[in-house]
Amino acid sequence: MEKYGIGQPVRRKEDARFITGAGTYIDDVAAENMAHAFVLRSPFAHAKILNIDTSEAENMPGVLGIITGQDWAAEGFATMPTKAAISKKIDGSPLNQPPRHCFAIDRARYIGEPVAVVIAETREQAQDAAELVEVDYEDLPAVIDARKALAEDTPRIWDNIEGNVCLDFELGDKDATEKAFANADHVVSLELVNNRVTAAPIEPRGAVAEYDATTDSYKLQNATQNVHANRTTFADVLKIDAESLHHLAPDVGGGFGAKNSSYPEPPILLYAAKKFGRPMKWVNDRNEGFQSDTHGRAQFSKVELALDKDGKFLGLRTRTVGDLGAYCWTNGPFTPTGGSARTQGGPYNIPAMYYSAVAAFTNTMPTDPYRGAGRPEASYQIERIVQHAADTLGFDPVELRRKNLMPTASLPRKTPMGLDVDSGDFPEVFDRTMKMTDREGYAERVANSKKNGMRRGFSIAPYLECSGGMPKEFAGISFTKDGTVTLRVGSHSTGMGHETSKPQILAHTLGVDFDRIDFIQADTKATPIGGGHGGSRSLEVGGAAVLKAANEMLDKAKVLAAHLLNSNADDMDFADGVFTDIKTEQTIAIDDVIAASFEQGRLPEGMEPGCLDTESIFEREIISCPNGAHAAEVEVDPETGAVRVEHYWVIDDFGPIVNPMLADGQVMGGVAQGLGQALMEEIVYDDDGQLVTGSFMDYALPRADSIPKMELGYYEDAPTAKNPLGVKGAGEAGCCASPPAIVNAVLDALKEDGVAHIDMPLTPEKVWRAISEAKK
């Protein structure tokens, strides 16, 4: 049992399937008599749709029909609402929410917006016909830069929305912060960008929709990371009963937030399945993904830090312009507002903080939460301004950070942003990371780099973030006579290994055989509720639900065990899968108790066969605060501007680690994703709104040789009391810490060149140019 216990590096059960090509991804899904849909997307960032002529396309071989925005509008379907947790402006009025239909009806507002959908016998035929759909566009001026979108003379994207503003937002104590700045010895200020990126999951989005006329019900298999919430949205759009829509996800190849969003294609597909009486399939290709998957980050901020003469932090003020793209997408308005505000200041003791933001519309693909959803932005903001303070005021950057960390004795506390920080030991974590980084050998490494004409730099980046996502989660455990245990969960793995970690919790708690546990997720028929995947919630909420259900099952099993042993439930002890009567020392194994639960004759009064099946819902009251300290050492080639991350060190505090191998994977993946944002990833639209980075030929993702050797460790001595596992979300921490660690290390390397700041991504040209310009 211990082999599969909590804390063990159990190998991923799902990997055998995934790495032998036996996984079932959406493109592997087929239904009998299935037709195919191809989405014709707007090639213009902003254009009126004057007319659509489908006559020629309709006569192409294999074409079953074509749906346009006008057809959709005629059906009277509802728009897709934003479900952002921040829904009001500062003055209390609701945010400006433009109507988001599944099609661009009379005006297209971003490249990739669906204009028409062609249904044909094959995808090729649908695509052939789509080329003959004649759309008469009238090009309109496109608004691409969110900062310019707010200017008075900028054209409106939505006629009734003045200034292209969705909402404004503030959090913190403005007056106290102003006072802190007024009384400060030093004030430093920096303008910086959190660059627009795309998730680029290895599996593009896609779905298969079916309609059953006899029961008037639908089945949607969808490459999503949130079946329950999207079922509600899709049903609302189509004005059908949510219960009539069975929404499930097969194996999903990565999401990173982008597959949480509610997209227009699935409802269109459901509609088409009914209209044409055929199952419908649609799968995006990679180019469509670049255009039409929600983007992340896209924030422009001014960050100011007030310090006293000794370098003690007194106040932090951040002002952000967030780029929402053309619509309020599913949670888009939350990211640059509440999402970025909560963890302002990171792990530092800053008595006064004030965050304000304005979220703007642009003619670009809308943004939505992307791995971290505001916390990586906040982490980058505080760590850059702290580094900038050290560099410009002459403090040692390591010492400046160390002395401003929240003292351990000050926990639990609430930050001025209202974040409930209950547990942790930030100075200890910081020191442990520093100890890993071999400072003794650093001077020699710097000298070696110099000898080769290179620069070397180092930075540590402590971080404090928080979990998020839906606070409720479901777990169901059921047993069969043959000894199989089935675990059904409402959380959703899109590659993180829940098929291993969730059964691990169950095996550990019940002492049942890990290999006998079947795992079901992402199916609205299997679980009554489900929060899917997002906000690093899966272990702290989903894992807690499994633990809760297991413990409730044990309470029942104890009663049965006592009955079987002719003893008293109060006298039953349970450990390692065995019930023991503490008085008589009689024992019975849980497997025997489970077997007995199917025999009516062996059950006490009030228990029925199958009585051990248990369903439970766990609800988190307060989000957890994952934290840690990462450090990076980089080498920069000043002649070419190329950056190489040479070493990377991590101590993370996620509470107790359930499966260190899975945790390592989360950390490394997050660090790699952050490295991508720091050094190479950026979605670029040109001034006319054309997407320049429309393929992997121009959008740079990190590759294996971009990733440094990482040394990882965990601080497990400060479990949180916010959930029964004591865990703190691990999924997004890596990309909170790595952008500032890497960017600050590069700037440390370029200190001698007089380079003060470079905006992400730190591409070779930008680094080279910064060095060249500093020389002037």
């Binding site: 090729e124 180019n287 190329a642 190479m680 070779p764």
Partner: protein, 264 residues
């Protein structure tokens, strides 16, 4: 991808006949550019004539101071060839650094130079080494072969048979990868043959070009320091989101020095 008719001839004569008979024929070598272009529906040939089976187009041989490489020789074969490694190690390394293993196992020397992608590696090597391109109808010096952006001296239907490359005394190639595609943002090939030196830059402009000021300096003194102070004007160089013209110009100088230092 649009529908097309696929042919796989065994001889050059058959291939040329198939091409002549086709409405809008297209030869295909390794397909590493052609197939993605067709998948994106950016090309609509009526007939694809696959040169894969034609044995006359394959193979590597050395005759005295001339290395011959058949047009349908893959990058992996060039990278793995003992003859190439011995004669021109820089060329073997160049081939080994193209794309990824799948690209190197499919992509060919002839396909690459016929396509003449401005960021391809082989054009720099062939111009840098003063190679000759042998086709079904003539011999073309590399200097005259690469004529512009995706353009070559090849006539309609003309097929590259092989290239012959003089073995240099020393040669070096250094490329700086475009961060996304890993094609050459700039690549510089330097070769010394007797008293003559050639410096060819790829990725930097619309088409591979020689840097004469550097060649002259290196003919006097084949050392990295001889290039000090020699810069290439940014004017006319490529300018895109990955690199501006002046950055590319700077890379030419840097990479040329490194290529000289690495030459063997």
């Amino acid at each position: 991808m649009y529908d097309f008719t696929y042919h796989r001839p065994e001889t050059l004569a058959d291939a040329e006949k198939m091409f002549a008979d086709a409405d809008d024929g297209q030869y295909i070598a390794g397909g590493q550019t052609m197939v993605p272009v067709m998948k994106q529906r950016l090309a609509m040939p009526s007939d694809i004539i696959d040169l894969e089976r034609i044995s006359d187009l394959k193979g590597i041989s050395r005759d005295g101071n001339v290395l011959s490489i058949g047009a349908m020789t893959t990058h992996a074969e060039v990278a793995g060839s003992g003859d190439v490694a011995k004669a021109i190690p820089a060329l073997a390394r160049l081939a080994d650094d193209i794309g990824d293993p799948a690209v190197r196992n499919r992509g060919t020397l002839g396909g690459s130079i016929a396509n003449n992608d401005p960021a391809a590696d082989y054009p720099a090597a062939l111009v840098g080494l003063g190679a000759t391109i042998h086709t079904t109808s003539r011999e073309i010096p590399a200097d005259d072969f690469f004529t512009g952006l995706f353009e070559t001296a090849l006539e309609e239907g003309e097929v590259i048979v092989k290239v012959s490359i003089p073995v240099p005394d020393k040669a070096g190639y250094v490329k700086f990868p475009q961060p996304a595609s890993r094609f050459a943002l700039v690549g510089v090939f330097v070769a010394q043959i007797g008293d003559s030196v050639r410096v060819a830059a790829t990725g930097a402009g619309p088409c591979v070009f020689r840097v004469e000021a550097m060649e002259k300096a290196l003919e006097k003194d084949f050392s990295a320091s001889a290039l000090k102070g020699i810069s290439v004007p940014g004017e006319g160089l490529n300018n895109d989101i990955h690199a501006s013209a002046d950055y590319r110009a700077s890379l030419i100088s840097t990479l040329a020095r490194r290529a000289v230092a690495a030459a063997e």
